[in-house]
């Protein structure tokens, strides 16, 4: 979708005008509206809502309408769901599921479900004890627990329908991602690439929890579910068993490429899309080769798991540039014709716009200061690397941008078909990185890198980026003092919502980023805002407050900031976060 004329001018479009504009668009799946039933609102992962009662004209009147304490400190990533006037909240470990009856004044706990995950998981999860949320489908709530289980819970009664073990903590596996449900299959993936885990994605039968298929991210083609229908766009993605031959020895067995981010789905093409994490052990010299299929976007048939295409963003990762970030599906005008695209803002500093039928790179532009590569070669799909910034064992490589946390990490962007822009929460950090010899000891970190991060050029450590995917460049940018580790919400009302690590929840104008309203919540925001219609017909906006996650953990009292290498290097980037935020765990709901 191209820009609609109303949005290129300076005047604020009226709600009516926006509503008209929306109907002229072609969202590829139904966007969220009165309810928010999937992790990102819709299958296309747009985080866009058709609700339009809150507008740039009235957003300044937003106020808190209710709050709810989750009873858990630590990072509150993800977001609640709202279905049938019930809000579903999944807490960080111990992963309690609360059902909140929105028809009661201020909301009331209808029931809670306790999966009682093992406390061992707390010490095995790499990046705080987070959970990125649940999926609703056909009367059930599905979500994962940190200790490697998936549960199905009756959305009305709160009774457990099934609980199956999907990961093995003994080898360092945890599960933090939010599932999606496609064709009665619950799609899940594992976490633990920092512990030498071998990544996989699985489909579980929604009725029983039985595993229907499993596709590994490394190993021989039969494990990766690469068969005759696998048709990657680029030549160096073709060949037999690249998941083993692009590694030295059997390092692929510890090869990472976990699937801890987001999954999107195109019903017309019947393909799911997701990205894989960093290769096992951060020290690149311990794993010569391209290390496929780490840092790769896969397109798969959800019915049998077979791979249709793959595209590796960062061959032979030397920076921990996980490829798990969101893949937003949209149809936009490029070069005069409508293309079915997938837009992926990657950790490595580039936003990729791919043809989602073929995996071809259509545009790839830098959305943060990036120096490890100059550009992406559209003929080969490979980055034009700057050799000075390729890290090595035993050498401190300095001044690499972005840092390992990336131009952005997991917090998902939003896409507004009204403006045609993508709203990307970003991080402006650089780093020094030294590869170290690492020992594989099952169930313990397998990292092999000494990393120290610091603010990137300009000193502002993050912000919100409005991105034109057709042009491959930013339209505007809002600077923030701290990295933005909240997801983004875009609405048909023309308002974009996001939160900051120092605890400001903000509404800005979708057209120009003009700040409309802000509210200081109790603890920094690393969750993702949603919107829904309450039983009273009003539009509500909800977000978690509760700093944590990889970077946000620097705010915790048991993390020391006198060592900039703390937390795999993030402490160096935000040593001042302790003055800006403390631990918390609270749901905030706002309305006009």
């Amino acid at each position: 979708m191209t820009l609609i004329p109303a949005c290129q001018g300076g005047a604020a479009p009226s709600p009516q005008r926006l509503a008209v504009a929306l109907t002229t668009g072609t969202p590829i799946t139904a966007p969220a509206g009165r309810e928010w039933a999937m992790p990102s609102g819709d299958y296309a992962m747009t985080r866009f809502s058709s609700l339009n009662a809150i507008t740039p004209a009235n957003a300044a009147q937003l106020k808190v309408s209710s709050t709810f304490s989750t009873g858990v400190l630590h990072g509150h990533e993800g977001n609640p769901l709202v279905v049938n006037n019930v809000m579903y909240v999944v807490t960080p470990w111990p992963n309690v599921l609360y059902a909140i009856d929105l028809t009661k004044p201020g909301g009331a706990v209808k029931w809670s479900y306790q999966p009682n995950p093992s406390d061992r998981a707390v010490g095995i999860a790499c990046c705080d004890i987070v959970n990125r949320g649940a999926a609703y489908d056909n009367g059930r709530i599905y979500y994962n627990t940190l200790d490697g289980h998936t549960v199905a819970v009756d959305a009305t009664s709160g009774k457990q329908i099934w609980k199956v073990q999907v990961g093995d903590m003994n080898i360092g596996e945890t599960v933090t991602m939010a599932p999606i449900v496609v064709h009665n299959k619950v799609i899940i993936g594992n976490s633990g690439a920092e512990l030498g885990v071998r990544g996989w994605i699985k489909a579980l039968d929604a009725g029983s929890g039985k595993e229907l298929w499993r596709a590994y991210s490394t190993g021989p083609d039969r494990d990766v579910l690469i068969g005759p229908n696998f048709k990657p766009f680029y030549p160096d993605h073709r060949g037999t068993d690249l998941g083993t031959t692009t590694w030295s020895g059997e390092q692929w067995k510890l090869g990472g490429g976990t699937v801890w981010g987001w999954v999107s789905y195109d019903p017309d093409l019947n393909l799911i899309y997701y990205g894989t994490a960093n290769p096992g052990v951060w020290n690149p010299d311990m794993r010569p080769g391209d290390n496929k299929w780490s840092l790769t976007i896969f397109a798969r048939n959800p019915d049998n798991g077979e791979a249709r295409w793959a595209y590796q963003m960062t061959p032979h990762d030397a920076w921990d540039y996980d490829g798990v970030n969101e893949n937003i599906l949209a149809n936009i005008q490029i070069g005069g014709r409508e293309r079915k695209v997938l837009v992926h803002p990657d950790r490595n500093g580039f936003v990729y716009t791919l043809d989602r039928e073929t995996g071809e790179v259509l545009t790839a532009g830098k959305f943060v200061f990036t120096n490890w590569a100059d550009s992406i070669n559209r003929k080969t799909g490979r980055p034009a690397e700057n050799p000075a910034y390729r890290t090595k064992q035993g050498v401190v490589t300095r001044g690499i941008c972005p840092s390992s946390t990336g131009g952005k990490d997991e917090p998902p962007s939003a896409y507004s078909p009204v403006t045609g822009w993508f709203y990307i929460p970003d991080t402006n950090d650089c780093m020094d990185y030294e590869g170290l010899e690492a020992n594989y000891i099952a169930g313990t970190p397998y990292v092999g890198a000494s990393v120290r991060m610091y603010a990137g050029p300009g000193g502002k450590r993050g912000g919100l980026n409005a991105w034109d995917a057709a042009a491959g460049k930013a339209v505007w940018h809002i600077d923030e003092n701290f990295p933005v580790w909240s997801g983004v919400l875009a609405t048909a009302g023309g308002v974009v919502f996001y939160g900051t690590m120092d605890g400001w929840f903000k509404a800005v104008d979708a057209r120009d980023g003009h700040e409309l309203w802000k509210f200081k919540v109790g603890s920094g925001i690393v969750g993702n805002p949603i919107t829904y219609t309450g039983p009273d017909g009003k539009q509500y906006v909800a977000v978690y407050s509760g700093i944590g996650g990889w970077m946000g953990a620097v705010a915790f009292p048991d993390v020391s900031t006198d060592d900039p290498y703390t937390g795999l290097g993030v402490a160096g980037a935000i040593p001042d976060i302790k003055q800006a935020s403390a631990m918390g765990g609270m749901l905030y709901v706002f309305s006009l």
Binding site: I124, I441, S560, D563, T566
Partner: protein
């Protein structure tokens, strides 16, 4: 591999460095024990370490020590094989052995004066560039290793290969060899140069010296990893050794080593000894007497933890041990959870003043050895002295003794 066999591996190394001999006749000869001499126990045919033409670096080192202390150097010659220590040092026929592993049990070592490693040796024209025991090519290449007797698993590299099921393509070369020939252990390096084996895995000083003198260019690459888990090291600190109780001489030798550190370094470099940095050298660590795990401490700190009689860390304030603890902190992935310098991350900070399970030496020991809830694994399979060294490092954080400060 269990801990007892890694002791065996360490002893096998001791055998390699010190040498062993069963049933050799002693060299006869009067032994002057005048206080004006430095009486050295040495092998007459074991370059690059020593020989009776005084060409080895241990000969040069003995000269250096003698000069510094104003003592004339005398030798008691005996091939370094089984019984060497018993028949020389312990028989009071000489007073110092110039090179033993720093953990040597049969005598009292000085401070270590160098650290070396096992190495891969191959012909440069083969371009093998092999550096890891985990390189899959090791399953196919013909590999030479030293053996003592007929046990193919008795030196650390052979054990490392066996652990990886690399057995059939391994060729053993006797460390004894034919003693009528010069420097019998060097046959392993000759075999590489001749092409009898594709690659040899040998103790660094031997390999470095003979590789340089080979007829064809040879490549010498330190093995990786430095330690196989749970504990089979390929890197060793080398010290001199005196008789247990001869602390007067030991202290004098330590002071010589300290004064001539750079000269010794140059000497070793002349002999092409592959050197790794010694992490710390100031203190003279007393080997601990098997510290007991403090089992009488409860699972949580009691109301008066400081009133309990708790074992003390035998390595407390020992800079060498603290530095070793720092290395182990990375080696066992402690740093992965607790931060590069203990600042925390996945696991809690060890740099702050909060101790969930008690911050005394014994309670930290217990947390490491037994594990704690919320994911701290049990490391009870580590040798106690390593756990105490880790404790020593952790207690040094944010003090003036902290090595490698952030």
């Amino acid at each position: 591999m269990s801990f007892p066999s890694n002791l065996a591996a360490a002893m096998a190394l001791a055998a390699l460095v010190v040498g062993t001999l069963a049933g050799r006749k002693e060299h006869p000869g009067p032994e002057s024990r005048a206080p004006t001499t430095l009486a050295v126990c040495a092998d007459p045919n074991n370059l690059p370490f020593s020989n009776d033409k005084l060409q080895g670096f241990e000969n040069k080192l003995a000269d250096l020590v003698g000069r510094d202390l104003g003592l004339a150097v005398r030798y008691t010659w005996l091939p370094q094989r089984r019984g060497f220590v018993r028949n020389t040092l312990k028989a009071h026929r000489c007073d110092v052995i110039m090179g033993v592993p720093a953990s040597f049990q049969l005598a009292r070592p000085t401070e270590p004066y160098y650290r070396s490693t096992y190495v891969f040796v191959s012909r440069t024209d083969r371009h093998l560039n092999l550096r890891s025991f985990d390189d899959p090519r090791l399953h196919h290449l013909r590999i030479g290793v030293h053996v003592i007797g007929d046990d193919y698993e008795n030196v650390p590299p052979a054990a490392a290969l066996a652990q990886r099921h690399i057995i059939r393509n391994v060729v053993g070369y006797s460390i004894y060899g034919d003693y009528s020939q010069p420097d019998p252990p060097a046959r392993l390096i000759d075999a590489v140069a001749r092409g009898d084996v594709d690659i040899a895995i040998a103790w660094g000083p031997l390999a470095g010296y003979f590789a340089q003198r080979a007829a064809v260019p040879l490549e010498v690459v330190p093995v990786s990893p430095q330690v196989d888990l749970p504990f089979l090291p390929f890197v060793f600190d080398i010290a001199m050794a005196v008789r247990r109780g001869d602390d007067t001489l030991r202290v004098r030798l330590d002071s010589v080593l300290d004064r001539h550190r750079s000269e010794i370094q140059q000497l070793l470099e002349q002999y092409r000894v592959p050197l790794l940095p010694l992490t710390a050298v100031q203190a003279a660590p007393q080997p601990p007497q098997k510290p007991a795990i403090p089992t009488h401490l409860g699972p949580m700190p009691g109301p008066h933890p400081d009133t309990l009689a708790e074992p003390k860390n035998p390595y407390a304030d020992d800079r060498a041990a603290i530095a070793e603890g720092r290395r182990l902190f990375g080696w066992y992935n402690c740093s992965g959870c607790h931060g590069d310098h203990g600042g925390g991350g996945m696991g809690p900070s060890l740099r702050d003043s909060v101790w969930f399970y008690g911050g005394t030496e014994a309670r930290i020991y217990k947390s490491i050895a037994e594990g704690r809830r919320n994911g701290m694994p049990s490391w009870g399979r580590l040798p106690p002295e390593q756990i105490w060294k880790l404790v020593a490092y952790i207690k040094s954080l944010r003090t003036s003794k902290e090595p490698d400060k952030p």
